[in-house]
């Protein structure tokens, strides 16, 4: 009797979903991206990664999983992080 062991390799997608709104979406030319989360611990790390090469002169707000967050808010794989300018509804 023989047992064949097959090793199934489960690949976990280690990414963070990053969204951009309004003038930031236009500046970056994208509304969404999946970011590899290696070496990313906080919102500040995400921002450093995605804003590199752009001149961002305006104030930028952020959220994690659709709640307002700060630059030092922790971020992990599977989270949704968004960057946007001051809000102007109503």
């Amino acid at each position: 009797m023989q047992t064949i062991m097959t090793q199934s390799k489960v690949e976990t997608v280690m990414t963070i979903k990053v969204l951009y709104f309004a003038s930031l979406r236009e500046l970056f030319g994208r509304e969404e991206q999946a970011l590899d989360c290696a070496d990313i611990e906080t919102v500040a790390d995400v921002w450093k990664e995605v804003s590199a090469g752009y001149e961002v002169s305006q104030s930028v707000l952020n959220s994690v999983n659709q709640e307002y967050a700060e630059l030092d808010t922790p971020v992990k794989a599977g989270d949704e992080v968004a960057f946007f300018p001051p809000v102007t509804g109503g």
Binding site: Q66, P85, V87, T88, G89, G90
Partner: protein, 150 residues
Amino acid sequence: MVTITETPFDPWQTISQYQEQMQCDGEFGACATFVGTMRDMNEGDEVNGMLLEHYPGMTEKHLESIVANAEEKWGLLDTLVVHRVGELFPNDPIVLVAVWSAHRKDSFEACRFIMEDLKSKAPFWKKESLSEAEQQAGKNRWVENNTSGY
């Protein structure tokens, strides 16, 4: 109830229809309302239209939490918030807040509270379309900040 809609709406008809199906007939003695409407001028420029963008999901969650906070602070019987998104033109209603309570103090104060929180924190963004000449000069612009309102 919180509603985000791409469809133009008549705030007065919306209030009247909503009130007809409310479950607190005879209990409310006050209804305070705020209606925000699009103007045709901003910062000295003629504005022909506007594109209102939002963060689907976060907007609804945020507005619902504002309403829940108001319900904790004041004695409210019902609350209705309607906000337009998409393409708007001058005179279009943008936002409606209606608050029902037994006495006027609660609905007046809660209506103001909800509106100020919405203006300063709910994730909406306005982009104005200016006159044709200005558009050709690439002057369509994002509104940068809401005024404090006080």
